[in-house]
């Protein structure tokens, strides 16, 4: 694994500068609606990409295994409006349980 502290510094700088950008530089300005909608779509695109790679990637390839069951259980728990900690515990138990079988 690459140095945790390098990642901490890089990610913290990115997060802090993004939060500062609006109030420091752009106060009183308005962003073009099209730009706002593009920026708003980055989060869903990336979250979906993170889910997909976490569930299906193995080494450098793709695979379907017990992790998919965990994701399905998480989806059901979210649909049923369970709190996030319970949702995460259910997803982990489903994947762990399937591995035992």
């Amino acid at each position: 694994m690459t140095a945790p502290w390098t990642t901490i510094v890089v990610v913290a700088a990115v997060a802090i500068l993004l939060r500062a950008a609006g109030p420091a530089l752009l106060g009183g300005h308005r962003l073009a609606p099209k730009l706002v909608s593009i920026l708003g779509l980055l989060a869903p695109a990336l979250l979906a990409a993170l889910i997909a790679t976490q569930v299906f990637s193995r080494e450098r390839g793709l695979a379907v295994d017990e992790r998919l069951l965990g994701l399905v259980v998480a989806g059901l728990a979210i649909y049923a409006r369970f709190p996030i900690p319970i949702t995460l515990a259910l997803a982990a138990s489903a994947t762990a349980g399937a591995r035992l079988i």
Binding site: L18, L26, P44, L47
Partner: protein
């Protein structure tokens, strides 16, 4: 969860204290776990947290004072405090923003400290199914964002791009490339 990416409890807690971006930190850890480096993690967080720019512009009118003060207070603008402090569409309450922001920050840092110390005493993460926790958490963050139909298109596009590129590109980059999935939604 942080332990799996080689973070000690101290490093994980410092990460929460300095970066204070829950989804961004989990995303960065995912990139590292997949074998990517700090630059790929930084780019992923840049794209994931880009929503902070329009959020910051929206609350800018209630943040007063010199630039350094506005920048400091802006660090308390999280998804949660931003949403709770919007007292009516397009108008934010400064007090609510600061209070909820401080609560979110303190509980996130304290939660990380306790969580990573507790997790260090657990056994094999795979056997406990802990690798299913990351995607479950991202799904919980994603679902509320899927209201407009072009957000669904962007999500499908992002997932498809990442999966298609996983066997081809070095680790970490497929997720960065998936940011272009948001352009899928723009056409509509």
């Amino acid at each position: 969860m942080a332990g799996a990416a080689g973070f000690s409890p101290v490093a994980a807690t410092a990460f929460s204290a300095i970066a204070a971006t829950g989804s961004g930190q989990f995303a960065a850890l995912s990139v590292l776990q997949a074998g990517g480096g700090a630059p790929a993690a930084g780019l992923t967080v840049l794209a994931l947290n880009a929503r902070a720019i329009p959020m910051g512009v929206a609350v800018a009118p209630v943040l007063r004072g010199a630039v350094w003060r506005r920048v400091l207070v802006a660090q308390l603008v999280f998804d949660e405090s931003w949403a709770l402090a919007q007292v009516e569409p397009g108008r934010w309450d400064r007090r609510v923003l600061l209070t909820t922001g401080a609560v979110v920050y303190v509980s996130w840092v304290a939660g990380t400290a306790f969580g990573t110390i507790g997790a260090a005493s657990l056994g094999d993460p795979q056997r406990l199914g802990l690798d299913a926790v990351f995607p479950a958490f991202f799904l919980a963050l994603l679902v509320p964002l899927l209201r407009p139909s072009h957000a669904i298109a962007a999500a499908i596009g992002g997932a498809g791009i990442a999966l298609a590129l996983t066997p081809i590109l070095p680790p970490g980059l497929p997720i960065v490339a998936a940011a272009t999935g948001c352009l899928v939604g723009i056409r509509r």
